[in-house]
């Protein structure tokens, strides 16, 4: 219903338009008959105003246009006859431009312009140039197309072609070609624009309209072909490249590919073939992407091999072409390939191979533009294939990368890593890992020529962090393959030097530990059968890996990693291995960690880890705890000593079912820490004339309470009572030094005791004897 209404309306509008034209034509004829120029201009402008409508489809608009066209012919005759209107053609050319509305103005201008050229009072090329420029003012596709087609029509017999009467006096055939091409270009632009205008639901209708107008645009080519002065040379140098840029139906391009490409190598070197070919390939790939049914067509015409050949020939023919140009061409070809034949990896590899061939003649690339193009070239497959692994199978890929300078190589490596991260592609075999690390070797090790010293530290950190991230994405379900991957990675990062190892070792260690955890449980040291991926073996490797950090040196990091491994070994029930890791940790502590703060941190880590270990036999455990307690007491600062020692108390009391519970030694530790706290207090008295903070005492009190609640028989209510009283006196003796923090701490500790007392039950009873 709607549609039929639309058509009816259109008929109505067309009828109105025609009536308008007829009405004004009547007065126009009268004015022309009475030689009244002013009136003639007025009515012709009004008549042409009917063409300003937006309501008609191209088809109907054409009808209207033809009516106006007939009237314009008549007007042109009148304009030609200066005797009748008494106005010189130059003045007339100005006069018509007084019209207020742009569309009538330009129709009149084209009409007068045609007379102007005929009069030969001005060079044809100047007038044509002016007309084609002024017509820019109409940007509406339909109106613009018809206006320009009118321009083409009236100027057709006035082009300064060879042999034409308008040739000469500076007007050459080139001007004619230039004019037609420009008009053609503009028409094409308008025509293409139609495609993007209007609501989507009318798309189909629009397309239909567009195809109706195609002939209008095509007429220009017809005109072009009729310009006799266009010989092969002009065609090659000027016409073809411009025409190629324009919009031809894609299927047309596809079928004539061979002819087209055949012409290319013959073109003059000055012609920007690169752009032409690039655009052509882009257009074709867009075309291919538009519908999957088209693919057979591409295969049928062997588009890829033709393009590839053509590019090869062009590069061969144009010796002077800068390398960047050649690479750009290959980038285009590559993106064409990726879009049209995404399944043909061999094509991709072929393109890359061709690039290698070009690049191999030269030294490393210096030209930044060319480098950029190579990066584009290398990035294209990454973007296309979510799976980086695909790219890894391209044998020519690393070879292209070899031609990049170190800086770009790094950038490219980052691109690769980012692509992997983005797609969460797991790289799952050691072979692929090998290739991958070969690709990103710019990040993995120092390349010659660039010393790591002048690198921006932040950049460096970021790069190395990326590598670290990457390691977590190397994964295979099969432990054996996974171990292989780890070994491969290890092989590569070993070469990284002391600056990189702190970044790369931890992820590898954790990756290996992850593998260990996976194996744990299934491993039972199956006798006789050679299982390559055993935890024991991995731990051996781990030992080596961590040891490598000694060259950095990074003892604190190594210590942490050793402790992690020890825990891993603990979970695998490998007592000797765990013991060995602990030994390593202690050795590091003794020999390498000198800073007192680092020592405090380290010893707490050791204590914490050791506490959780359950694999050790009594003897080993004793040795280690003894060692840990010893180190604790030997820390530099008394408060640190005190804290480390009371932390050691936990080594003797593991709060799970079959954990060690040695109340006596706990008490020993706590007493020892009390003594140290006392000593710290006195030391403070001597050196600063006031007692030190009671915080240490309060902390120890809290430990007492912990063990008290856990049921350590050695910790009794009276012991706690004593400690509370001690703290109270300490605080009274010198209230100024307590500090708000320790005050608050103590107060809330007391409040806790109070709370426990009031709670009643077994715990309440336990707390009962303590008096606050």
């Amino acid at each position: 219903m709607m549609i039929s209404n639309g058509i009816e309306d259109e008929e109505k509008w067309l009828a109105e338009g025609i009536a308008g034209i007829q009405h004004n034509a009547f007065y126009l004829h009268r004015a022309v008959d009475s030689n009244n120029l002013r009136e003639a201009l007025k009515y012709s402008a009004q008549l042409l105003s009917e063409l300003r409508t937006s309501k008609l489809s191209p088809h109907k608009y054409y009808e209207l246009y033809m009516r106006a066209f007939d009237e314009l012919r008549r007007l042109e005759m009148f304009f030609k006859d200066e005797d009748r209107h008494g106005c010189s053609i130059v003045d007339l050319y100005e006069l018509v431009q007084h019209a207020g509305n742009v569309l009538p103005r330009l129709y009149l201008l084209c009409t007068v312009g045609s007379v102007y050229i005929k009069s030969k009072e001005a060079p044809a090329k100047d007038v044509l140039k002016d007309l084609v420029e002024m017509c820019r003012a109409v940007q509406n596709p339909i109106r613009g197309l018809f206006l320009r087609s009118y321009l083409a029509q009236v100027s057709r017999d006035k082009l300064p072609d060879i042999g034409s009467e308008y040739e000469g006096e500076g007007d050459t055939v080139m001007d004619a070609v230039e004019f037609v091409l420009q008009n053609f270009t503009e028409m094409n632009k308008l025509w293409v624009r139609m495609q993007h205008q209007g609501p989507v639901r009318e798309k189909e209708k629009l397309e239909k309209e567009r195809s109706e107008l195609r002939d209008l645009v095509g007429k220009n080519l017809h005109v072009l072909s009729q310009i006799e002065g266009v010989d092969l040379e002009i065609y090659r140098d000027a016409v073809l490249p411009r025409v190629l840029e324009q919009v031809f139906p894609d299927e047309y391009h596809l079928q004539t590919l061979e002819t087209l490409l055949g012409a290319c190598p013959q073109l003059q070197p000055t012609v920007d073939l690169k752009t032409v070919l690039s655009q052509l390939m882009e257009r074709l790939s867009n075309y291919a992407a538009s519908s999957p049914e088209l693919l057979p067509e591409f295969l049928q015409v062997e588009a890829f091999s033709k393009l590839s050949n053509a590019i090869g020939k062009v590069i061969e023919a144009q010796v002077d072409m800068p390398i960047v140009g050649a690479i750009t061409l290959y980038v285009s070809l590559l993106s064409f390939t990726l879009r049209v034949h995404p399944d043909r990896l061999d094509y991709v590899d072929q393109v890359l191979g061709a690039c290698v061939k070009i690049l191999s003649g030269k030294a490393k690339l210096e030209d930044s533009k060319a480098t950029k193009q190579v990066v584009a070239l290398l990035s294209a497959p990454l973007d296309k294939y979510d799976d980086i692994v695909t790219a890894l199978t391209l044998s020519n890929y690393p070879r292209v990368m070899d031609h990049l300078d170190a800086g770009t190589n790094k950038i490219m490596a980052m691109v690769i890593i980012r692509s992997i991260m983005k797609n969460k592609t797991f790289v799952s075999t050691s072979d692929k890992v090998e290739v991958l690390f070969e690709l990103i070797k710019g990040l993995i090790k120092d390349l010659e020529g660039i010393s790591t010293d002048d690198l921006d530290e932040e950049d460096f950190n970021e790069e190395q962090n990326s590598v670290a991230c990457l390691m977590h994405i190397l994964y295979n379900d099969d432990p054996e393959e996974m171990l292989k991957i780890i070994c491969t990675v290890w092989k590569h990062i070993m070469a990284g030097g002391p600056k990189r190892l702190p970044f790369t070792v931890p992820p590898l260690v954790f990756s290996a530990l992850k593998l260990v955890r996976r194996l744990q449980g299934q491993d039972g040291d199956v006798a006789g059968e050679e299982v390559p991926a055993t935890p024991r073996k991995i731990f051996q490797l781990l030992n080596q890996i961590i040891e490598s950090l000694s060259v950095v040196p990074a003892p604190e990091l190594a210590l942490r990693l050793y402790l992690q491994c020890a825990e891993g070994a603990n979970d695998c029930d490998l007592e000797p291995v765990a013991y060995d890791f602990f030994t390593q940790a202690f050795v590091l502590y003794e020999e390498e960690i000198a800073d007192s703060k680092a020592q405090v941190t380290a010893i707490h880590l050791i204590i914490g880890t050791l506490q959780r270990m359950n694999v050790f036999g009594v003897e080993n455990r004793d040795t280690l705890t003894h060692k840990a307690t010893g180190y604790s007491a030997k820390l530099l600062k008394k408060p640190d000593q005190c804290r480390a020692v009371y932390a050691c108390s936990h080594l003797f009391w593991v709060d799970d079912q079959d954990g060690i519970k040695d109340g006596e030694r706990v008490l020993l530790c706590l007493k020892r820490s009390l003594r140290i706290a006392n000593a710290a207090q006195q030391m403070a008295n001597v050196t600063r004339g006031s007692s030190g903070p009671v915080t240490l005492f309060v902390e120890i009190l809290n430990k007492y309470l912990y063990y008290f609640e856990k049921g350590n028989p050695q910790i009794t209510a009276s012991v706690i009572q004593g400690l509370i009283d001690l703290i109270k006196t300490e605080m009274q003796s010198d209230s100024a030094t307590g500090g708000p923090a320790s005050d608050a701490f103590f107060t809330s500790t007391l409040r806790y005791i109070q709370f426990q007392k009031q709670k009643g039950g077994a715990m309440g009873e336990k707390y009962e004897p303590i008096k606050l």
């Binding site: 431009q97 509305n101 742009v102 002024m134 109409v138 109106r143 205008q197």
Partner: protein, 301 residues
């Protein structure tokens, strides 16, 4: 009734003739009553000479207390209609008191008259030059006759005449760069230029170039401003895309423009503006107004 009208008929007929009336150029002048008459035009510092003839109605005599001719330059504000402010006033006595019986002719001459301002007919203000002949009579009232003429002054071509170039826009919506080839145009000039679209995110329907005249009268709190659009010239039809450049070529001759007047006798100013207007499909208007200076170029012919 006719005889009553006849009774009030002036007792004599006065006519003013300029001595070079034949050769002097005449220009149209719109009178108060809306009629357009052709009057001679002068430039500042020209000699204004001619003859005034007084012709009594047949058979009557005119008794008078003297005849004089005045050259007046007057400004009339329309809110104060009928009240002329004379900025120039020159008097020539033509005759001593006496009687006139028959046609009598008096030559007059105002030499190198300073007439710095141009004749102007605006919305709220009018500047005119007039020759006023007065025959003073005692009891019967004076007889006066007016003869208008037009003054126009030429300016030399300005030595500095920069183009107007500007980039304007609405963020992320529309960015254009426009250029007018000059900032000072003479009355028959052509405005050339181009508009370059840097960013187009709105659907433009068309683009016009308007010439606007801004006449401000009075001063201080009594300033009254009147703006008229003298020309509306369509520059573009349809929606451009980014990167498109649209030519401007606007001939000024068809429009009734005057030179720019700045603070004429502290009474009024007339300024001209080019207003670039873009209209989108929802009829919203986006515009940018630029002042241009108009001047009158001496006619070479």
């Amino acid at each position: 009734m006719n005889f009553i009208i006849g009774a009030f008929k002036p007792a004599c007929h006065i006519s003013v003739a300029f001595s070079d009336a034949k050769s002097r150029k005449q220009v149209p002048l719109k009178k108060e009553n809306g009629q357009t008459v052709m009057v001679p035009f002068f430039r500042s510092q020209e000699n204004i000479t001619g003859k005034i003839s007084v012709e009594p109605i047949l058979g009557k005599k005119v008794e008078h207390n003297g005849i004089k001719v005045e050259l007046l330059g007057q400004i009339e504000m329309y809110f104060d209609k009928g009240n002329f402010y004379d900025f120039t006033s020159l008097v020539r006595e033509l005759d001593v008191p006496g009687e006139i019986y028959e046609r009598k002719t008096f030559p007059f001459e105002f030499s190198t008259v300073e007439m710095p301002y141009e004749t102007y007919n605006g919305v709220n203000v009018r500047l005119r030059y007039v020759l006023k002949v007065t025959i003073s009579r005692g009891y019967a009232g004076s007889i006066t006759e007016y003869q208008d003429f037009v003054v126009r002054n030429y300016s030399p071509t300005p030595s500095i005449n920069n183009s107007i170039k500007m980039e304007v826009g609405i963020e992320d919506c529309l960015h254009i760069e426009f250029e007018y080839n000059k900032s000072k145009y003479h009355l028959k000039d052509v405005i050339l230029g181009k508009i370059y679209f840097l960013l187009v995110r709105i659907k433009i329907k068309n683009m016009d170039l308007e010439i606007r005249r801004r006449e401000s009268t009075g001063s201080g709190p009594n300033t009254h401003v009147e703006t008229e659009t003298l020309a509306k010239f369509e520059l573009m039809d349809g929606a451009p895309v980014r990167g498109e450049s649209i030519p401007i070529r606007l001939f000024l001759s068809p429009y009734e423009l005057t030179p720019t007047y700045r603070n004429i006798n502290n009474k009024f100013s007339v300024k001209y503006y080019l207003n670039l207007v873009l209209v989108d499909e929802e009829d919203r208007r986006y515009f940018k107004q630029q002042e241009i200076t108009m001047y009158r170029l001496g006619e070479t012919s």
